[in-house]
């Protein structure tokens, strides 16, 4: 049976604006990626020429395209959160769908890129740079997959209701925060992996 609080007991929700608890996860996850980025950059310092030589084998155009895809998808999801807050259900559904469709392009390009590398004989064991390339982009890709799943669940939920309620708005905002993190992490990965070797 549902449990209720004792009468008169104050809660955070009564007095404070809603604060998405997903920020705990976001902070920890970003800190982890901070460690990963730090490890990569410090390892790179041991042999920058070799790292750059390997990085130059990556296709900057694919990396740039994926950056634009994620930023666009993130923008659409941000608009969907705004739509949820003004109770505009048709716009919420449309924008979430747009974010998912655009975001799907990332998987197409990334998997194509992985396939091209493996076909060219480049694997995580080729050298240290590609070890980190596959590990870092692999961890990011898992986050991307989780984010896409979250967006699909949100869309399904939005399609099943007749009007936007507070729970749906909060879910869209929390999911959106996660999706922006996926985007943000890629914005760090792209210059670190693709551009550092290309600009020399």
């Amino acid at each position: 049976m549902p449990v209720t609080e004792a009468p008169g007991e104050a809660t955070d929700e009564d007095s404070a604006p809603w604060f998405p608890s997903i920020w705990t996860f976001i902070a920890l996850d970003c800190a982890t990626f901070g460690v990963l980025f730090g490890v990569f950059m410090s390892e790179r310092l041991h042999d920058p020429a070799a790292y750059d030589a390997s990085a130059s084998l990556l296709d900057v155009r694919l990396g740039l395209a994926n950056t634009l895809i994620l930023i666009t998808s993130s923008y659409l999801v941000a608009l969907s959160a705004a739509a949820a807050r003004r109770d505009d259900l048709p716009a919420l559904r449309r924008l979430l769908l747009g974010g998912i469709v655009v975001g799907a392009g990332f998987a197409v390009l990334k998997l194509t890129e992985y396939a091209m590398k493996i076909a060219a004989g480049i694997t995580p064991q080729t050298d240290a740079f590609f070890g980190y390339y596959f590990a870092l982009t692999g961890v990011h890709f898992l986050h991307y997959g989780a984010g896409m799943l979250v967006l699909l669940v949100l869309l399904r939920r939005a399609q099943r209701v007749a009007a936007v309620d507070e729970g749906l708005t909060r879910a869209v905002m929390s999911g959106g925060i996660f999706w922006h993190m996926v985007d943000l992490l890629w914005v760090f990965l792209f210059p670190m992996l693709y551009l550092l070797g290309a600009v020399r």
């Binding site: 049976m1 549902p2 449990v3 209720t4 609080e5 007991e9 809660t11 929700e13 608890s21 997903i22 705990t24 996860f25 920890l28 996850d29 982890t32 460690v35 990963l36 490890v39 990569f40 390892e43 995580p124 064991q125 240290a128 070890g131 980190y132 596959f134 590990a135 692999g138 961890v139 898992l142 989780a146």
Partner: protein
């Protein structure tokens, strides 16, 4: 009708997690020469030399680790008993607590079997060929690290359950739930371990050893604190329901 105590022994089970942590650090870690582990980049001969020199101490350490591993199951059962009333209050089924218990139970196996393999390799360490000695260590590490997905499933199920608590003041703070999901998900990075003999993702590397394992153990400590704090709240909740019925 006398009131039953639905949380009898639960505190003991949860405290067992703290004892397990102590055993893991002292027996598996310090005596077992796993803080830090021997480098996987060593060749078999070099590995055999350092391992044989420490074999007697490692034997004591791994004996303690194998014997103490079962305490993880106690901790798991304790968590299950805290999760069940959260699920009941939500009028939900018990999928999350069941998933947590089964995956925690399976994780227990990996607190016992890999140390057992390390222990086995100490038994004839002085006469065993170096490459077999090293292969046994490799197998133990692969099982120990790669089985982390059972721990992932356990922590994520716990985390989702904590987040689903509909009480206005949750029994366990929601940030602990998110932390459980985070630590559970981050254990997936162990998947890179088989591909690296050096660097951050190697079994003695910055990410794989110095980040992943402390994150898991830190979550055990933090969650244990809040699991113990949950018991008086659940006791009071049960007593209030019991009084209301009688």
């Amino acid at each position: 009708m006398p009131m039953i105590n639905p949380y009898q022994h639960v505190r003991l089970c949860i405290w067992a997690g703290v004892v397990l942590l102590f055993i893991e650090v002292v027996f598996w870690g310090i005596l077992g020469q796993n803080i830090p582990p021997y480098s996987p980049a060593l060749d078999a001969q070099a590995y055999a030399e350092v391992f044989r020199a420490d074999a007697d101490v490692i034997r004591i350490g791994m004996t303690g680790a194998v014997m103490g591993g079962i305490l993880y199951m106690f901790w798991t059962v304790g968590i299950t008993k805290i999760m069940e009333p959260i699920e009941r209050a939500n009028s939900a089924n018990n999928v999350l607590s069941t998933l947590q218990m089964w995956s925690g139970g399976l994780t227990t196996v990996f607190f016992i079997v890999p140390p057992g393999i390390w222990l086995g390799s100490t038994f004839r360490a002085q006469t065993m060929p170096p490459d077999i000695l090293q292969a046994l260590t490799d197998v133990a590490w692969m099982l120990f690290d790669m089985s982390a997905t059972t721990g992932s499933a356990q922590l994520i199920a716990l985390g989702v359950c904590i987040l689903s608590d509909r009480r206005r003041i949750p029994i366990i703070p929601k940030w602990i739930g998110w932390m459980g999901i985070y630590v559970g998900a981050s254990l997936v990075m162990f998947a890179f371990m088989p591909f690296f003999k050096t660097g951050a993702f190697a079994r003695n590397g910055a990410i794989n050893f110095w980040f992943e394992l402390p994150a898991f153990f830190l979550f055990m400590v933090l969650s244990t604190i809040f699991l113990l704090k949950a018991i008086p709240k659940l006791d009071a909740e049960y007593a209030a329901e019991h009084v209301a019925k009688t």
